[in-house]
């Protein structure tokens, strides 16, 4: 059986990287005593497939992993709750399972299937230049938003506007639905952004670069980005964006 598991990554552990998380999962599965199917070959590896990498320093309510269980274990859908429980106990502090379901072999892989992710970002007000609300307004009303990025050592000006699917200040309802201890002592304006992941995708730090006015030397986006939390990952089904785990459609309106 193949399972799709979603998990959170919150707090200090956000400073670990994508590779680190892969290693943590290998150790976690062994600690939890969950038999995973192994790849065949010279150095067999557990059959796990990860979703999109979460940038080091970002947190998430919904990270994803597909795991193929060892057929010998005889696990069925009835075991999913207990598997989730065992995984949560074995995961490191800051990570726990938030959802689990069987995953059909025909389902498109996480890497290919996910088209966009939604973020809540706590952005510090820039010292000079327009406030965040104005900056958001400006992006939303522009037909084109240019960002200088490097590709193969060369600077390119990319229009990232088409990839910004949603951008707004977070409302109180959303904020109160987030884990209570998430914000901690950090401050800033809470904004919500849904960004495309196809092609090169847009990183939250890149969005900060277009929201905060240019300066010399160029800003370090992390000076302004106090916290960043992934709250949704989307796949496309019948022309609609639906939640990757639950299949529910997006509630939020799209401004693009």
């Amino acid at each position: 059986m193949k399972i799709r598991v979603s998990y959170s990554k919150l707090g200090k552990i956000r400073f670990t990287g994508h590779r680190d998380v892969a290693h943590m999962w290998e150790r976690t599965l062994r600690k939890a005593g969950i038999a995973v199917a192994m790849s065949v070959g010279f150095t067999p590896r557990p059959k796990m497939a990860f979703g999109l990498a979460l940038p080091t320093g970002a947190e998430s309510l919904i990270e994803l992993i597909d795991i193929t269980l060892d057929p010998v274990s005889g696990a069925t859908v009835d075991d999913l709750d207990s598997i989730a429980q065992r995984l949560s106990t074995s995961l490191p502090v800051g990570m726990s399972v938030t959802g689990i379901r069987e995953c059909a072999g025909t389902e498109v892989s996480l890497q290919e299937g996910v088209v966009a992710t939604t973020w809540v970002m706590l952005v510090a007000e820039p010292e000079n230049g327009p406030d965040i609300a104005t900056a958001i307004e400006r992006v939303n009303s522009s037909a084109e938003v240019l960002l200088a990025r490097e590709r193969k050592g060369e600077k390119h000006l990319d229009d990232i506007r088409p990839g910004i699917l949603e951008l707004r200040l977070a409302d109180a309802e959303l904020m109160s639905s987030l884990p209570a201890d998430w914000i901690g002592e950090s401050v800033g304006h809470a904004i919500v952004a849904t960004l495309t992941t196809s092609g090169r995708g847009i990183r939250p730090t890149e969005l900060v670069e277009v929201l905060v006015p240019e300066s010399d030397p160029p800003i370090n986006p992390w000076d302004h980005l106090n916290r960043v939390l992934r709250i949704n990952q989307w796949i496309e089904r019948d022309g609609e964006r639906v939640d990757v785990l639950t299949g529910r459609a997006a509630h939020t309106s799209v401004s693009a």
């Binding site: 200090k12 552990i13 400073f15 670990t16 990287g17 590779r19 680190d20 290693h23 943590m24 290998e26 150790r27 976690t28 599965l29 062994r30 600690k31 010279f42 150095t43 080091t56 320093g57 074995s90 490191p92 502090v93 800051g94 901690g184 002592e185 950090s186 370090n220 992390w222 980005l225 106090n226």
Partner: protein, 651 residues
């Protein structure tokens, strides 16, 4: 006592590998600080990936936290990027467990596994906001303590440390805790620092440099003696008598990010009596104490279960010598209940066919390369260093390695050894070529990598009197090996530039006057000296020159029997006579067999400490000679003398 986390947090997204600073490992404790508890900050003066796996630190961390009167946290050297941000914002050195300031601890205890980290210690003490020089510390400053192998000659660090601990820490940390607890309870009044240091100096194994005076006669030391009544003239190392009483770490730390030894480690024995004369670790950790095989097995099973690792390293100075090795391996490797048939790695392989058999048993499908350490290129030189491996041993081992499916062997050599001539250096390539020839009989892909390092003589070894080769001489010899290798098919050479061996040699056998050099190098920005990108030879030479000290006197000069060495008052348990005789025997090319299986040479460690070897098997390990049952009659015929250098007469 507040956490610095909220000040650190905004910096971490901007530095490389921020997971170095978050703690949160599997097995980490939630520190319980409290009134009356002695708070230890266990520090490793290198970067997290190198320091986290250190077993000594993990063991003490656990033992201290089990005590009701102590609490221990850990810290590692922040990498240069974070350090710059910390200094810019006035954030002091912090613990990774609860991100407390180092200053809030009573003891800053550094584990020193190499001399090249000395400057990092100064940097960390400074980052902690504690005066770098011990004499300037106030009663409320933490005590700065060192331990580990590089603490066996603490003299170059005498100005910067309050206390050095010689030997194994399991027992002595409790005794130190008790003394410091009383000092805390007494309110640490003005002037009480001297009193607590004097009380600590009463504990066996504890050395307080400031309680001793060193008198010089020109360049040489005339006398080292206690400055106060009641302070021991000589400090003896500590040794736990039975490793079976100390089944630590029980909660091994499994980090959340990649580290250098990313696997479970279980120590199978301590000490080594093979008697390699260049090897400080072997000399200072005698006698041999094996862990009961059953305990090894349960530590493996339990450790794998706790951490989720599927690989375990059985550690010691020569793991194939462990009496229980076969029973442990045969019971662990095929056992799926022992966490899914884990991979076993055996560091420090002996050079013989038996060992290769073990390696084949644990290797499974992975046959990447096998490493052997003949250390010297000719049998003559191997009798000098007492690495008693014959050519037949090596070829036999290599034969069985290639026959069992390996296609690559790695051979470790030292260069700059006593009495070494270019014949010995050429011998390195001859041996490697011989191994390739053996391998070609089995596979066309057979190749051998020669890894060559410059020898640095260490304190408490028979080679403590030997004048280290100069950097140009080491370079020349490495060059000879490289040139010869280019003409030899199937042989590759790996080497490190030997310039750091100068700094290592200086710090290894230096006296208190070297402290000023270390401080200069640190002030000039010389941190992370183990990292070649941060090492600059000129920094050390300039600092020597500025202090008016001669590299020849400290590094390349042979010492004689009458010379008072800087660690004269410190003992690893080995009789000075034994070391000197062994040095003479070495120059006479006379090998000594392993005392586990032959009569005692009375080196001093067993008799002096009421200890004995704890070895489960009364017979030497199977296969290979390695000095057991070896014909050693060839040595001792023509006495060899060391080339006398002009400088000896000049001093």
């Amino acid at each position: 006592m507040t956490s610095l986390w909220s000040r650190l947090e905004p910096l971490l997204a901007r530095v490389r590998k921020p997971a170095r600073y978050i703690g949160c490992e599997d097995g980490a404790i939630v520190p319980q600080h409290g009134h009356g508890k002695v708070a230890w900050l266990l520090a490793y003066p290198d970067v997290y990936e190198v320091g986290l796996p250190n077993q000594g630190l993990q063991i003490l961390y656990e033992i201290l936290n089990e005590r009701p009167d102590a609490v221990a946290e850990r810290t590692y050297a922040p990498w240069v990027d974070l350090e710059a941000l910390m200094r810019e914002r006035g954030i002091p050195l912090f613990s990774v467990d609860s991100h407390r300031a180092a200053e809030d601890f009573d003891i800053l205890a550094f584990n020193l596994s190499s001399e090249l980290v000395f400057t990092n210690l100064l940097n960390m003490v400074d980052l902690a906001g504690v005066p770098v020089r011990a004499e300037l510390r106030s009663p409320t400053d933490p005590l700065v303590m060192i331990g580990g192998h590089a603490a066996f000659n603490p003299e170059p660090m005498a100005d910067f440390i309050d206390v050095a601990v010689l030997g194994e820490g399991e027992e002595v940390i409790g005794e130190i805790t008790e003394v410091v607890r009383e000092w805390k309870a007494s309110g640490r009044t003005e002037g009480s620092r001297l009193a607590v240091l004097k009380a600590l100096a009463q504990i066996p194994g504890v050395y307080v440099p400031s309680l001793y005076g060193v008198e010089y006669d020109g360049d040489h030391i005339r006398e080292i003696k206690p400055l106060y009544a009641g302070i021991p003239e000589r400090v003896m190392k500590r040794t736990v008598s039975d490793l079976g009483d100390w089944d630590y770490p029980r909660r091994p730390l499994a980090p959340l990010t990649e580290v250098v030894h990313d696997r479970l480690a279980v120590e199978v024995f301590r000490g080594c009596t093979r008697g390699c004369r260049f090897c400080q670790a072997g000399m200072i950790t005698r006698p041999v104490r094996e862990r009961p095989a059953e305990q090894v097995r349960s530590m493996i099973v339990d450790g794998l279960q706790r951490t989720g690792y599927n690989e375990v390293s059985l550690t010691s100075l020569s793991t194939a010598d462990f009496s229980g090795i076969e029973s442990v391996i045969t019971s662990i490797v095929p056992d799926p209940t022992a966490c899914g048939a884990p991979t076993v790695s055996l560091p420090s392989l002996r050079v013989d066919a038996f060992t290769v058999g073990l390696a084949a048993k644990v290797a499974g499908g992975r046959r990447s390369g096998l490493t052997f350490a003949p250390e010297a290129g000719t049998w003559r030189l191997r009798t000098v260093i007492n690495k008693l491996i014959t050519e037949e041993d090596l070829y036999g081992a290599v034969e069985s390695a290639f026959a069992s499916g390996w296609s690559r062997a790695k051979l470790y050599f030292l260069t700059g050894l006593p009495t070494e001539t270019d014949i010995d250096t050429q011998g390195i390539i001859d041996l490697a070529a011989g191994c390739v020839a053996v391998g070609k009989r089995h596979t066309g892909r057979a190749n051998v990598t020669v890894s060559i390092g410059g020898f640095v003589p260490k304190s408490h070894t028979p080679f403590q009197w030997f004048g280290q080769n100069s950097v140009p001489e080491l370079r020349r010899k490495i060059g000879l090996v490289r040139d010869a290798a280019t003409k030899t098919k199937g042989v590759n050479v790996k080497w490190h530039d030997p310039s750091a061996s100068l700094a290592e040699g200086l710090a290894s056998r230096g006296d208190r006057r070297i402290g000023a050099v270390i401080e200069r190098v640190w002030r000039d920005g010389g941190v992370f000296q183990e990292w070649s990108e941060y090492f600059k030879l000129d920094r050390w030479l300039d600092a020597m020159a500025a202090e008016g000290l001669s590299p020849d006197f400290y590094i390349t000069r042979h010492r004689d029997e009458k010379e008072i060495l800087p660690w004269h008052h410190l003992s690893a348990g080995l009789h000075q006579d034994f070391l000197w005789q062994d040095w003479r025997a070495s120059l006479n090319e006379f090998g000594l067999e392993d005392c586990r299986w032959t009569p005692c040479y009375d080196c001093g460690v067993c008799t002096g400490d009421g200890l004995e070897h704890i070895v489960a098997s009364p017979i030497p390990p199977a296969g290979g000679s390695q000095g057991t049952g070896q014909d050693l009659s060839r040595g001792g015929i023509t006495p060899v003398t060391l080339r006398t250098k002009s400088s000896v007469g000049a001093t």
